[in-house]
Symmetry: C2
Subunit: 336 residues, 2 copies
């Protein structure tokens, strides 16, 4: 009798644990950039960012429910954030030192390591869709500048006037940055210094679709005041974005130069594959040890094939949201 009751308890417990695990399996995680200055965030902005993240993660989840691929989920969520002027991607992107918007994006598929990216596009409404088109409709992985614009136009993506990306708020910030620069010129004359209050509100997403395939993508306006022609980590496969079904999918945000030098996204994958680290341990190792020691500010979101989500950042915050298989949404901006 005692044995039976123990057996039933064990069975009941395992079914509860099983349900909890299924419940907590994350199918989509997104980010809206690393935040360096919490004090700057008004309650109204806080609310807007949370709403923007929730809306974007739910849009990607709708695709999941309809049986869409990880690529479709990633593209859908990122397009929402590109269209949302609060994020530094698509409409509302920051300006280069020359007062232009130059947009970067990349996307990658974990099952076959296929990837596409664009750098410095100026007329493509949704750079993430251009990145996907490069992957699917060209022989190349990365197209830059005017060539990338022409390609996007050629494959029928929505083209806009460069003024589409400009918002009043970002333009005011840009003017402020230029004034600051005049008072304290860069040491080289070759570019603006990195703004100390830099808001790196790059966006990104990592999805695990119903077939168990991972995909990841990232989109950004880059670093405020970046030198004309500067390319950050977002369009660099291995730096800002990576997806490998044997490990995880990753999207990064932060001081891009460090993310390139440390091959951040690929390093996380390598630590999982070659050292057997969990996705969270691997992300922490790179972001909170290597990058932190080097002075590279920012963070990453990651998702492995079991639906285990990870976030690691050495900045004050990382705007992020994830959604489980059953549709439960979690939104966080800082440690909370």
């Amino acid at each position: 009798m005692k044995t039976f009751s123990l057996l039933f308890t064990a069975l009941w417990l395992s079914s509860v644990v099983g349900a909890v695990c299924a419940e907590s399996k994350v199918v989509l995680v997104i980010h809206g950039g690393a935040a360096s200055d919490r004090a700057k965030l008004t309650p109204e902005m806080d609310k807007r960012y949370r709403a923007g993240l929730e809306e974007a993660v739910k849009a990607g989840y709708e695709v999941f429910k309809k049986g869409g691929s990880g690529l479709d989920m990633v593209e859908t969520s990122i397009r929402r954030m590109e269209d949302n002027p609060d994020f530094n991607a698509g409409k509302g992107a920051v300006f280069t030192s020359a007062g232009r918007n130059e947009l970067d994006a990349s996307i990658m598929e974990g099952r076959n390591l296929k990837a596409g990216a664009v750098a410095g596009v100026t007329v493509v409404k949704n750079p993430i869709s251009a990145a996907r088109a490069v992957m699917e409709k060209s022989k190349h992985v990365l197209l830059a500048g005017a060539g990338a614009n022409a390609f996007a136009k050629g494959v029928g993506l929505q083209i806009v006037d460069p003024s589409y990306f400009r918002t009043k708020e970002r333009w005011a910030e840009h003017k402020e940055l230029l004034e600051e620069e005049k008072k304290k010129p860069g040491t080289t004359g070759a570019g603006l210094s990195v703004p100390s209050t830099g808001e790196w509100s790059t966006v990104g997403a990592v999805a695990l679709d119903g077939s168990g395939n991972l995909a990841a993508g990232t989109s950004t306006g880059g670093m405020a005041g970046k030198r004309w022609g500067r390319v950050g980590d977002s369009p660099i496969i291995g730096a800002g974005t990576y997806a490998d079904n044997e490990a995880c999918g990753i999207s990064a945000t932060g001081h891009g130069e460090f993310f390139i030098r440390y091959a951040v996204a690929h390093d996380i994958v390598a630590l999982m594959k070659y050292k057997g680290l969990t996705v969270q341990a691997a992300a922490d190792e790179v972001v909170n040890k290597k990058l932190k020691t080097a002075g590279g500010s920012g963070g990453v979101i990651a998702l492995d094939r079991q639906g285990r989500v990870a976030a690691a950042y050495n900045s004050e915050g990382l705007f992020r949201a994830h959604i489980t298989e059953s549709g439960q949404v979690t939104v966080k901006l800082f440690q909370e």
Copy 2:
């Protein structure tokens, strides 16, 4: 007596082995690209490539002998090959589908993971020097297109008319490729197909200087017939170039899209650091297993901190040369 003689024999043997090891310590390895079609190489061309490689590796060695840094060694050797019209870098670069020369280069320092790169420059005589200037004189890692040209001019590098890069031989090849394309258009209309006879004579170098620091660099005109704006692996830190004193320095050459997707240079470093592979085993794992399975043609040269040189390629040949601490030169084009 017997014990003494054994001891002396052992001492003599160890000194001989020591001398051999010191003798074989490589301080500089360079490549002049992966070759896909040995039959195309006339005896005269064979001789010219060998002479070009020897001249370039010796130029870098002169810098070593004067106590120059690994960066100086890499830059010097690569400049020689950029100036040599036989290689697809600097003068003699291949053309884009639009009939232009767009040059890519990158450089990296193993002791601090600092890096610089340029993509799509059109007026800088020596792109490798522009990559180094980005690393040393800007806050950025990668500058592209017109912005990179302007930066290079701003820091005083030698600027040339775009026609400087054009050679009669490459132009004839370009016209031939366009004719071929007319007969068998690309499937997408978005770019030329990859030429099956592609000669990937990208150049690169990895050095180990007197202070024990590694440096690596790569320079290229890219893929013949590449779409305007296409960026390959050569300017991508982690793909075409990487250097980490904890593992090795690497320069790659081949079908760049695969090298980006597989983060080839960083993957070799990761296999050494996280799985304890030797430099040759790590290079083989990536080039002769992963890339070969995926259909990514090309190869790498690598050098670790002990002066152990590695070459791995799945193409017919890899034009390469190395030089030891004592000045002994080895030049190889194929398996020989």
